[in-house]
């Protein structure tokens, strides 16, 4: 059996990263509300964008890393990869919940509706449901190695599925604002807004790292305790 690293140091590192991330979030709020111009047509409602888009970013990183960790697990059979995938999926679920709640709050004043079956909305809803399904499966398998194998297979399948969902719902229809950051031409945001957005994305990345490290540490502690209980 692969020896597991001590959980204490991981948890301390996670706690530190999380505190830094939370401080950064306070900075983002000040920056967004005080030092970023109000968008001309959407008004104050647009401010939620500085939370919504970075949360979506965090959920996306989480999702991709679950898939990558799953592939690596089936290859290397290292239980730490499984623990990491579990941590990343849980954090991803939280981030996509933030994304799915902030979206409608913005959509009501700007689009005039809480929800619409737009391509990107549908995709993110499925992302949320896939995280949920993944964690439900984990909860339903008791034996650790079997749980790791099953969830790795599901993680890989989900990673392959998302482009298909994206393509099919996109062909179905779309209404969502088009990408403003990652597009062939230059980003079309005024520099102050871009600065706030990029700061916020950095902060959310830090928060993702903090949460995942913390959750990974907890998973590690649990795994070690379970092994000791088995040995005893």
């Amino acid at each position: 059996m692969t020896p597991l690293p001590s959980a204490g140091r991981v948890i301390r590192a996670g706690r530190l990263l999380t505190i830094l991330g939370l401080l950064g979030m306070a900075l983002v709020y000040v920056l967004a509300l005080q030092f970023t111009p109000v968008e001309a047509r959407q008004g104050m409602a647009q401010k939620i964008f500085y939370v919504h888009a970075p949360a979506a970013w965090g959920a996306l990183i989480a999702f991709i890393l679950v898939g990558v960790a799953s592939i690596l697990y089936l290859w290397l059979h290292d239980p730490r990869l499984d623990l990491f995938a579990e941590a990343s999926a849980e954090v991803g679920l939280a981030f996509s919940a933030v994304m799915l709640t902030t979206g409608p709050i913005w959509g009501k004043p700007v689009w005039g509706t809480w929800w619409t079956w737009d391509a990107r909305l549908t995709l993110t809803l499925f992302l949320f449901l896939l995280f949920l399904g993944y964690l439900t499966l984990r909860a339903a398998v008791r034996e650790p190695v079997e749980r790791a194998r099953f969830s790795a297979v599901l993680g890989i399948m989900a990673l392959v599925l998302v482009p298909f969902i994206h393509l099919s719902v996109y062909l179905f229809r779309t209404l969502h604002p088009q990408p403003i950051l990652l597009k062939p031409s230059r980003p079309s945001l005024p520099p102050e807004m871009l600065r706030t957005l990029l700061t916020s994305m950095g902060v959310y990345t830090l928060l993702y790292l903090g949460f995942v490290t913390l959750r990974y540490g907890i998973g590690l502690r649990r795994a070690v305790a379970l092994r000791e209980a088995d040995d005893a």
Binding site: L137, M157, I165, S168, L171
Partner: protein, 226 residues
């Protein structure tokens, strides 16, 4: 015939023989599909939504739910008396076990669909006409996708608690791309549009099938090997 193909066919044959001796699962899956069709008919305001508008979604929800119910059975029959452990002990490649189960499921779900389709035509007054070949092709393509994913997922959920509830939760997101494609194709074909108009969707269905049949064949080893 290569050894692996023969093993796969033997496993599929065993499953189907088992099924046709009792016919309980087939009958209940069929009755379930018919009931879903009936429920659909009463789930709308008839003065607002015409039968023709409802037909594509009614067909595909019925097919999707029927497939889920039918596939739940595939590995549950192996759970009894450690049958699956015996199957794993057989000197057969894991991929062949997957394909055996896949083919049996395909035949089973296909049969349920074949029984349901005439009733769908009858209940929803569908003018099949020239749409039939296209519709059959769509049924085959979408079913391959459903069954490819369903076979591997049912092999996993059968080892969990609440297996019967777990499969729908896990499989429905995977059914969405083929389902969207199939509904779009069906709506256009039943509306008398030519097949050339839906080629993009059919290509999506084919790609989905190729990708997931390959992926699931490869990943099946990870599901069953201790």
């Amino acid at each position: 015939m290569p050894e692996a193909v023969r093993s796969a066919l033997a496993i599929a044959g065993k499953d189907l023989r088992l099924e046709f001796r009792t016919r309980t699962a087939l009958l209940s899956a069929f009755v379930f599909a018919v009931l879903t069709l009936l429920v659909f008919n009463f789930s709308r305001d008839q003065s607002l939504i015409s039968t023709a508008d409802l037909a594509p979604s009614a067909l595909w929800i019925t097919v999707a739910f029927g497939a889920v119910v039918a596939m739940n059975r595939a590995f549950i029959i192996e759970r009894e008396q450690g049958a699956f452990d015996a199957l794993l002990l057989a000197p057969v490649p894991r991929g062949a076990i997957y394909w055996g189960k896949f083919l049996a499921n395909l035949a089973f779900v296909g049969l349920v669909e074949a029984l349901t389709l005439p009733l769908f035509v009858l209940f929803f007054n569908v003018p099949l006409g020239r749409a039939l070949p296209g519709l059959l092709a769509t049924l085959v393509l979408a079913t391959i996708g459903f069954v490819a994913v369903g076979t591997i997922l049912s092999a996993m959920v059968v080892r969990t608690r609440f297996a019967e509830l777990m499969l729908p939760v896990l499989i429905l997101p995977f059914m969405v791309p083929p389902l969207i494609g199939a509904v779009q194709v069906t709506a256009r074909l039943l509306g008398g549009r030519p097949l050339t108009e839906v080629l993009g969707w059919l290509r999506l269905l084919v790609t989905y099938d190729v990708v997931f049949v390959t992926l699931c064949t490869l990943a099946f080893t990870a599901v069953v090997d201790e």
